[in-house]
């Protein structure tokens, strides 16, 4: 997990340095804030991963000598077929269309989106580990 953390920390450190130079040189707000956001986007998860990487046992995928048996067992829970992403996508599209054509598609979109959220939660609860 260390390499993963370092990749994100590189992003953070790079934008920290570039953002500092840019701000001191230009005093331009929009760019400075966007670079600050990029700095945080790298540093926050990067530091979190680094913190965890020092507290967790070495994962099989980080061990160059690991065998497949070292990673045996559950990898994770994966849903099978589900209609709800389609319903949610359709709902979101109708909601977006409401921003152009007026409120008449908003009701349809919200109904589909809420149905999908309920459906996904129900589906997740009744099927295996998630």
């Amino acid at each position: 997990m260390k390499v993963e953390a370092y990749v994100l920390l590189f992003v953070g450190v790079f934008f920290g340095l570039v953002g500092l130079v840019y701000w001191l040189w230009s005093h331009e707000d929009a760019g400075g804030i966007m670079l600050l956001g990029s700095f945080l986007l790298g540093c926050v998860p990067g530091l979190y991963y680094l913190w965890w990487s020092r507290r967790m046992p070495r994962r099989a995928e980080d061990d160059p000598d690991a065998s497949l048996e070292d990673g045996a067992g559950a990898v994770g829970a994966f849903p099978g077929s589900s209609i709800w992403p389609f319903v949610l996508g359709l709902g979101a599209t109708f909601v977006a269309a409401a921003l152009v054509f007026g409120a008449w598609t908003l009701g349809v979109g919200l109904f589909l989106a809420v149905s999908a959220l309920v459906g996904v939660i129900h589906e997740s609860r009744r099927g295996g580990l998630v």
Binding site: L8, S67, G71, F78, P85, A92, A97
Partner: protein, 587 residues
């Protein structure tokens, strides 16, 4: 239904608890990354064909002076929607939604993407957004016509009223969320679902590039999606964020747009850099030269690409010219490293000029032209002289056509894995040559047109302007490109009607996706080979090369030949990878 996937070799086939749906229901309900990847690819290619048809109309209009083939308004719609479909709905989605979705889990030995339902939602948002954007053509006010960059104040409700521009805005909000979700999925999958032994520095370069692309998406797309919301608020709620009348700042749109827009160029490019890297190694019968150098170059390019956004705004007069010029020049360094390593990979290799390799070589040549002219444009004096001329159009299209060739390299390379069928080599090579020639015939004259002063985005020019001959040549090139793409479609149809079985590993490739069947089964692998190097499938198929040996770093950048293959020695962090006859122990 939710199922619990386990590592191959441990589960039996009973893990598929229910029979998967087929036909339309499969298309609507699948959360399998392979189905979603195919959906993305097919949808993106359809948008590509539509955008290509618009390009043909544009070139027909410009083939002669004082043309009335298209009205000025229709011409504006055409170049706006051509650019929008190509950039937002084809080149990006086909890479990170299509090929990466399909290939990345296979390359790292994962059973699926980390969040399969989110992955499916990404596709539906992308499709919904694409359809909404196209709906603009059937509204009374017509489709968006303010260019693919939608500069303020041209994009306000006074200058471009109507539903078409609004549909463009909300469509890109949807596709923006789609891209962000895909970025999250890619990063999570690569961080958490690698097979045992698949360390970060054993991942194929394509997967590395998709990881970096995923992070770049997370940096760039939220800014653009937020800016679109602000633009909608300007148009409908009178927010005046980008309007001078209410105290707003029009150039702020450019700042926000290009903070997304320039990284977007690399969000488009990095996946194809990855494809080209992997394909060149396979068809040179060699490991990748300078693997770690490639990784660091990718990360450097991505980082630098996010700090050069205002080089698109030199002529606004409100940006820090030396900073953005310097940072833009710096991108040439890691890109140069990549070119060096691509050539190094081919050097003394046993190069086979199959169709994917031809497209890679076409990519190198075309991207070099686009890259070198990009360095010219990074110089403010040159940019001031050529800004908003056809020189910029030509530069941009050299870059993007190189990426399209990278995409075709990927199509031809992975089509056997995705379908179990081979594409025809003869048709493929004809496609390549026509595309390569067509690209240069179309866009090289546009550099000259730009230097002669032809502005971009004009529907007409006069015969006395002296632009006619070069425009005619350019339009002939576009027709050649049209034929090349038509041949590709014919190739797909032929392979579908009269299939040639591909086998599991038709290219004798080295990375993990070639260890499984073509097409792969649900959850990808029935058996994963031991991962002891960057080339696990090569190790399995060529045990004579499985010699554990470590090459210590040496200075000099020398190339030594061992066993008929070149081993490129380490220098300042570049390693030669695991060559035939050698295998390094990374980490």
């Amino acid at each position: 239904m939710t199922i619990l996937a386990e590592r191959p070799e441990v589960f039996d086939e009973s893990f598929e608890h229910e029979p998967a749906p087929s036909g339309l229901l499969k298309w609507l309900t699948s959360t399998d990354h392979k189905v979603i990847g195919k959906n993305y690819t097919v949808t993106a290619v359809i948008f590509f064909l539509l955008a290509g048809a618009m390009a043909m109309l544009i070139r027909a209009q410009l083939a002669s002076p004082d043309s009335t083939f298209l009205s000025q308004h229709t011409y504006n719609e055409m170049f706006t929607m051509h650019g929008s479909l190509m950039i937002y709905l084809f080149v990006g989605p086909v890479a990170f939604g299509g090929l990466a979705n399909y290939i990345v889990p296979l390359q790292i030995g994962a059973p699926d993407m980390a969040f399969p339902r989110l992955n499916a939602l990404s596709y539906w948002l992308y499709l919904g957004g694409g359809l909404l954007m196209m709906t603009g053509f059937v509204t009374t006010g017509s489709a968006a016509d303010f260019g693919w960059v939608a500069y303020a104040p041209l994009s306000n409700s006074i200058n471009t009223p109507g539903a078409g521009p609004d549909l463009w805005i909300v469509a890109l909000i949807l596709t923006g969320f789609s891209a962000i979700f895909t970025g999250v999925n890619l990063v999570s999958t690569i961080y958490y679902l690698r097979a045992p032994g698949m360390t970060m520095f054993r991942m194929p370069i394509f997967t590395w590039n998709m990881l970096v692309t995923g992070i770049l998406i997370l940096i760039a797309f939220p800014v653009f999606t937020s800016a679109l919301v602000l633009l909608w608020c300007d148009r409908h709620l009178g927010a005046h964020i980008f309007e001078v009348q209410g105290g707003g700042v029009p150039v702020l749109w450019q700042d926000l747009f290009w903070f997304f827009g320039h990284p977007e160029v690399y969000i488009l490019a990095l996946p194809f850099f990855g494809i080209v890297t992997d394909v060149i190694a396979v068809f040179s019968r060699k490991p990748i030269f300078g693997y770690r150098g490639m990784v660091f170059a990718t990360i450097s390019i991505a980082a630098l690409s996010t700090s050069v956004w205002a080089h698109h705004m030199f002529t606004t007069g409100v940006v820090l010219l030396p900073f953005f010029s310097l940072m833009s020049y710096l991108i040439a360094v890691p890109t140069g490293i990549k070119f060096f390593n691509w050539i190094g990979t081919m050097w003394r290799g046993s190069v086979k000029f199959d169709t994917p390799m031809l497209f890679c070589i076409g990519f190198l040549a075309t991207f070099l032209i686009g890259g070198v002219t990009g360095i010219l444009l990074a110089s403010p004096p040159i940019d001031f002289a050529t800004h908003d001329t056809y020189f910029v159009v030509a530069h941009f299209h050299s870059v993007v056509m190189a990426l399209v060739m990278g995409a075709f390299a990927g199509f031809f390379y992975w089509y056997p894995k995705m379908t179990g069928r081979m594409l025809r080599e003869g048709l493929g090579k004809a496609t390549f040559w026509l595309m390569f020639i067509g690209t240069n015939v179309t866009f090289d004259p546009q550099y000259l047109l730009g230097l002669k002063g032809m502005p971009r985005r004009i529907a007409e020019y006069a015969a006395s302007d002296g632009f006619t001959t070069l425009n005619r040549i350019s339009s002939v090139g576009a027709a050649i490109l049209f034929v090349s793409v038509a041949l590709f479609v014919v190739n797909v149809v032929v392979s579908w009607l009269n299939p040639i079985p591909a086998g599991d590993n038709p290219w004798d490739a080295a990375t993990l996706e070639w260890a499984t069947t073509s097409p792969p089964p649900h959850h990808n692998f029935l058996k994963i080979p031991p991962i002891r190097s960057r080339r696990p499938v090569w190790d399995q198929n060529h045990p004579e090369d499985r010699i554990i040996e470590h090459h210590p770093p040496r200075l000099g950048g020398l190339m030594a030949s061992t066993g008929g293959s070149a081993v490129l020695l380490d220098e300042v962090g570049f390693d030669g990878g695991d060559s035939p006859g050698t295998r390094e122990r990374d980490q």
